[in-house]
């Protein structure tokens, strides 16, 4: 009995470590991929000095950030200022715990599910964690004791709570189709057809809202550099800034993996193993997001709010009603 517990515990630690390492590596190399791709879109080369093709650039960046001075501005709320970046980064990383990255593996005769934890409310857990991520922005900006930070934080909070609503509502049809909140069941329900073909409207709403949640161009008002310097993280430096930066890219990876799980069939795909398919799908979503960043200008504040409240939310609600009606018609 004890042996069984210990082996389960060790397995959990190994799974956690592997998932975390993969997530951090993905995020680090996503930064490089983004810089390279943006550079190509703007007809320049991008980072190419550290290692072959600039492949060691993320490591060089990490060393630079660790070596920098950690400045806490005068008048700042020191405790909240210190912990806000950790909230932003950890909430982003914890979401990945419910994402399944493959079919269950059989080792020494016992099946090992390739997911850190299969919660029966996994979808809600992911939404809850993404809504807790707002605190990193809000508290970090407030605690900095600077106009730019506070303005950025206020904008960030307004934007994130406005787009959380369509983000959640766009997933209701997915739950109706798969009869479950568990991400493992949602992936299993897409064995024959990914939900993007059945719910294209939901996919569009989710994708746009997810982009607003990550605060990327064209939704980067909280850190608009020509008005607010860097918005909520203006006063941060060194590794604390690094945590905000890491949180942003980890959220990009986790939201990409959630898009893959909810709409693109998760790890399902022909020929290749499941983990590879999930990676390919995440990379494809990240590429589209980088492409959009390289193409579109920033929204105006009122356009941003109008799109969230007057367009995406009503469309999501209508989509739920239509899906419910069609499901009732099919079952009748």
């Amino acid at each position: 009995m004890i042996l069984y517990w210990i082996s389960g515990f060790i397995l959990l630690i190994i799974k956690l470590g592997a998932a975390l390492l993969a997530l951090l590596l993905c995020a680090a190399y996503l930064v490089l991929a983004e810089r390279k791709l943006l550079a190509r879109m703007q007809i320049r080369y991008g980072p190419n000095r550290a290692g072959p093709f600039g492949l060691l650039q993320p490591i060089a960046d990490l060393i630079k950030m660790m070596a920098k001075e950690d400045v806490i501005p005068e008048g700042a709320d020191r405790i909240i200022f210190r912990y806000a970046p950790a909230v932003a980064a950890s909430c982003a990383m914890l979401i990945f715990a419910v994402v399944p990255f493959g079919n269950s593996l059989t080792l020494w005769g016992s099946p090992i599910p390739l997911v850190v934890t299969d919660l029966n409310v996994g979808l809600l857990a992911a939404l809850g964690l993404s809504s807790l991520g707002v605190y990193g922005v809000a508290l970090g900006g407030w605690a900095s004791h600077s106009k730019y930070s506070l303005l950025g934080a206020v904008r960030g909070v307004a934007q994130m709570i406005s787009y959380e609503l369509p983000l959640g509502l766009s997933l209701v049809p997915i739950v109706m189709l798969s009869h479950s909140f568990s991400l493992v069941d949602i992936v299993a329900a897409q064995r024959s057809w990914p939900f993007i073909f059945i719910q294209p409207v939901s996919f569009a709403i989710f994708f746009v809202s997810a982009m607003a949640e990550i605060k990327r161009i064209p939704f980067d008002l909280p850190e608009a550099e020509n008005e607010l310097i860097a918005g909520y993280h203006t006063e941060y430096s060194g590794l604390r800034f690094g945590l905000f930066f890491l949180g942003e890219y980890v959220t990009l990876v986790t939201l990409g993996s959630l898009t893959a799980v909810f709409f693109l069939g998760g790890w399902h795909g022909p020929f290749l193993p499941g983990v590879i398919w999930l990676l390919v799908k995440i990379a494809a979503i990240a590429f589209v997001m980088i492409w959009i960043r390289g193409t579109l200008p920033r929204f105006r504040s009122d356009q941003l709010m109008d799109m969230g409240w007057k367009f995406l939310t009503p469309v999501a609600l209508i989509n739920i009603i239509v899906t419910g009606a069609v499901l009732l018609m099919i079952s009748a």
């Binding site: 709320d77 809504s131 807790l132 605690a143 506070l150 994130m160």
Partner: protein, 170 residues
């Protein structure tokens, strides 16, 4: 004492301590942060008592939604600095004491109803499906009434917002 009991009492202790800090802190943002911790602890309690759906809703709605709005309002308004506020007057103590009295009474009733301590917290689970079935089959009428109430509040808030705009001459 099982692992389950240890976790349960640990979460309960976190809730009590965090709530205590939330009502005694002078800095309003610190108080809000402690309240968030308290909500998270409540979510853990719900999860341990076998209601994962309630735990998730507690995090999404209370910790992630309502408290964010509180913080938003705190950031928008200029609150008086701690030194100028009178923190512990009779006005603040009296309601707190009444509440403590009620809680003490309820705890006493609970303890005396089961003096042999036979009722122990045990691990049970209610799946989201079971929860939804009970809520929308047995209690559909209260749910509808509540949603009507929220709709009325929403329309009222919208009316107030519109009214202000006209006064400004826009």
């Amino acid at each position: 004492m099982t692992l389950f009991n240890i976790l349960l009492y640990l979460a309960a202790a976190v809730v009590v301590v965090a709530t205590g800090f939330a009502i005694t802190r002078q800095n309003i943002v610190h108080a809000a942060c402690y309240l968030i911790v308290s909500f998270m602890g409540t979510a853990v309690l719900f999860y341990l008592l076998g209601a994962p759906l309630l735990a998730a809703l507690e995090v999404i709605i209370y910790a992630g939604g309502i408290m964010v709005l509180f913080l938003f309002v705190i950031m928008m308004i200029q609150y008086p600095p701690p030194s100028t506020r009178k923190a512990f007057s009779a006005k603040t103590w009296c309601p707190a004491m009444i509440l403590v009295g009620i809680c003490g009474l309820l705890a006493g009733i609970l303890v005396f109803a089961d003096p042999a301590n036979r009722l122990r917290p045990v691990a049970v689970t209610a799946t989201p499906q079971a929860f939804g079935d009970i809520l929308f089959q047995g209690y559909w009428f209260p749910v509808e009434i509540t949603s009507l109430l929220l709709l009325a509040a929403l329309i009222g808030a919208m009316y107030l917002g519109r009214h202000n705009k006209r006064d400004n001459g826009k």
